[in-house]
Amino acid sequence: MGRAKPTVFVVDDDPAVLDSVQLLLRSVGLDAETFSSAREFLDAYDPERPGCLVLDIRMPGMSGLELQARLDSMGSTLPIVFVTAHGDVPMAVQAVKSGAIDFIEKPFCDQELIDRTQQAIEENARIREQLANRKEIAERIASLTPRERQVMELVIAGNTNKLIAHDLGISQRTVEIHRARVMDKLQAESVSELVQMVMRARQ
């Protein structure tokens, strides 16, 4: 997971545009898959696959903006680079406000497409890593016993062992043992690292 090669998903209703964009992306070593409609992409959509979406904003049937909203409601994190025609700028602005990486105007400069696509892929990798990281910490936290969890909460709230022992009505020595297990299970080197991890997991 996270190690799969990213794919650029290209959605456009024009076969020649699809074909040429795919060729261009492949020429710089990117994997590209093409879809001739928003519907076709949705049917094949797999949230696990890394990469980005290069999406034509104006298409018959479901438009690019509608697909964006659809993916959003599905919790997708796939970054979108919109492709617009001249005169679609207001639509494109709305797309960016709704979270798209950027938009490029047809006909576009190859470098621009490649840069935006790579930027989107990196963004996607970063998000995926973040998510993976968050998920792992959450799993580690889940592996704590209830008592260890109580101790962890009090530690990150800044309490001393003495206070924790007093609060929980247990010996200071026992607190030390729980605390060591928490640090061990969460693979935290210091209290400050522990605090960061928990904060990140709870974002």
Partner: protein, 506 residues
């Protein structure tokens, strides 16, 4: 007896003279003296003859003497001339007087001044003559007006009919013939012959001589004011020439007006066509952008592959071919557009209506697709050719499709349908209809729908339907619409079928 007669003579309102058998004056009454401006003494004897106009004097005396020899009455009209030189026209009646032996003893003349009557009569006669001539003239000029009215703008017809009309207005119409030469045209009456007895008048147009009107007599006729022709005839022929000049001027103005009108109409038609194109512009720009995008991306991909040292020439060649295809595709769209946007003169020829509609199908589909509209063509088979200006008919169909796309704006996706149908109504007409499932037309729009500048759209110019209908009408067809039972409206138009001739121009 004579003395009683003379006394009596003073009582009547006429000039009286009494002579003896030899014609010597014996008595004149006072009125005679007043009329002739002679005294009784001067009139006595043959003195009275001096009152007569010198030209009439000898004749009157001779005739009176002759009458005396036969003892008959002498009635005549002649002139007096007073010493002041004024002439008086008189009517005279000399009655023979007989003595007891029934022998002539003299004459009793009663003389009435008819100078005023004669003058009035002369005036009347002249007036009647003038009126006669004027009527002829008016008749002729009215005839020309009538001809012009029925000429349908043809100068040739005007000249022909006018030449035929002219001879009957001349005094000797039975020997008259006419010829009109004008602006490269010539028309003569059947009996025309160039004779020395000719009357001519020049025709001027904008101050320049452009022709001549001629009336000839086929044989010599008595001399009048101008050769054998009367002064009135000079006036008339001049009037005819002047009228023809003005007619030519008017016809020229009308022709130039018609040409201007036609030109304006064509410009407006073009303008509407361009404005429909404007409404379609974003759809079309999008459509042209696709191949351009593909071309750019293909070319850049090729460059990158070559830069990276790729040597698969087959792939590069393949991509180059795809670039070529896309360039042609862009060109094709622009070409179609260019055909419709170009300004040119109206040209009619035999066309296949289905062919015309297929010619704009791609443009219409571009527009329809971007508005999620399903556009279908249901073209009839074996339709007769129509006589039409193909581009104008395409414009009408495109305009109706454009209207339908606008009418479908608020219709839910998947229910936006337009069907273009062609059918043969009969041998004489082909019918085209454009049906949509859109919002239909407001009731109050119906009356005004085809009027210029009427629009239900925010951005519309309101000329589309008005121009469309005038195009259809100018082709001899009709345009109307109906509400669909379900939703939307259908617009129909008909175009007459062609003659089967190859090419006609209008």
């Amino acid at each position: 007896m004579e003395a009683g007669l003379d006394k009596f003579a003073e009582l009547v309102p006429v000039a009286i003279i009494r002579t003896d058998a030899a014609g010597s004056c014996v008595h004149v009454n006072k009125r005679w003296c007043l009329l002739t401006d002679l005294t009784r003494a001067a009139a006595a004897g043959l003195g009275w003859l001096s009152a007569l106009h010198p030209e009439d004097r000898e004749r009157v005396f001779r005739q009176l003497t002759e009458a005396a020899s036969k003892t008959t009455e002498y009635v005549d009209e002649f002139r007096f001339q007073t010493s002041a030189g004024t002439a008086r026209v008189v009517s005279a009646r000399f009655l023979p007087l007989l003595d007891d032996k029934r022998k002539l003893s003299g004459y009793l003349g009663a003389i009435t001044d008819i100078t005023e009557r004669r003058a009035t009569e002369e005036r009347l006669r002249r007036l009647a003559h003038d009126l006669g001539e004027r009527v002829k003239e008016l008749d002729c000029l009215f005839g020309i007006s009538h001809i012009v009215e029925h000429s349908g703008g043809s100068l040739k017809y005007v000249i022909q009919a006018t030449a035929r009309l002219l001879p009957r207005s001349w005094v000797h119409s039975e020997v008259a013939c006419a010829r009109i030469v004008m602006s490269g045209l010539e028309s003569r009456t059947e009996n025309y012959s160039d004779t020395p007895w000719k009357q001519t008048a020049s025709i001027f147009l904008h101050g320049e001589q452009v022709g001549v009107v001629e009336v000839c007599y086929l044989k010599e006729m008595p001399a009048r004011d101008e050769g054998p022709f009367a002064a009135e005839e000079r006036r008339l022929i001049d009037a005819v020439a002047e009228r023809l000049g003005r007619v030519a001027e008017r016809l020229q103005a009308e022709r130039s007006f018609r040409e201007k009108d036609q030109e304006l109409r064509e410009r407006l038609t073009h303008l509407t066509r361009v404005s429909v194109m404007g409404e379609m512009a974003s759809s079309i720009a999008h459509e042209v952008n696709q191949p351009l995008t593909a071309i750019a991306a293909y070319a850049q991909a090729c460059r990158r592959m070559l830069d990276a040292g790729m040597t698969d020439s087959a792939l590069v060649l393949d991509v180059l071919e795809r670039i070529g295809d896309e360039a042609l595709r862009a060109g094709d769209i622009i070409h179609r557009l260019g055909n419709l946007v170009q300004r040119r003169e109206s040209r009619q020829s035999d066309c296949d209506i289905n062919e015309l509609i297929r010619g704009i199908e791609k443009l219409a589909l571009v527009d329809a697709r971007l508005h999620d509209v399903e556009l279908r063509l249901e073209l009839g088979t074996t339709l007769p050719p129509i006589l039409a200006d193909g581009i104008q008919i395409q414009q009408v169909v495109l305009n109706l499709i454009r209207n339908s796309i606008d009418a479908l704006e608020d219709t839910p996706a998947g229910k936006k349908d337009i069907v273009v149908r062609t059918t043969a109504r009969d041998e004489a007409e082909v019918q085209v209809s454009v049906t949509d499932s859109g919002c239909g037309l407001p009731e109050d729009a119906e009356d005004k729908l085809f009027e210029p500048f009427f629009t239900t759209k925010e951005a519309g110019m309101g000329m589309g339907l008005s121009i469309s209908r005038s195009i259809v009408t100018s082709h001899g067809g009709r345009m109307w619409f109906s509400h669909n039972p379900g939703a939307g409206a259908t617009f129909f138009f008909t175009i007459p079928t062609g003659s089967g001739d190859d090419h006609g121009t209008s």
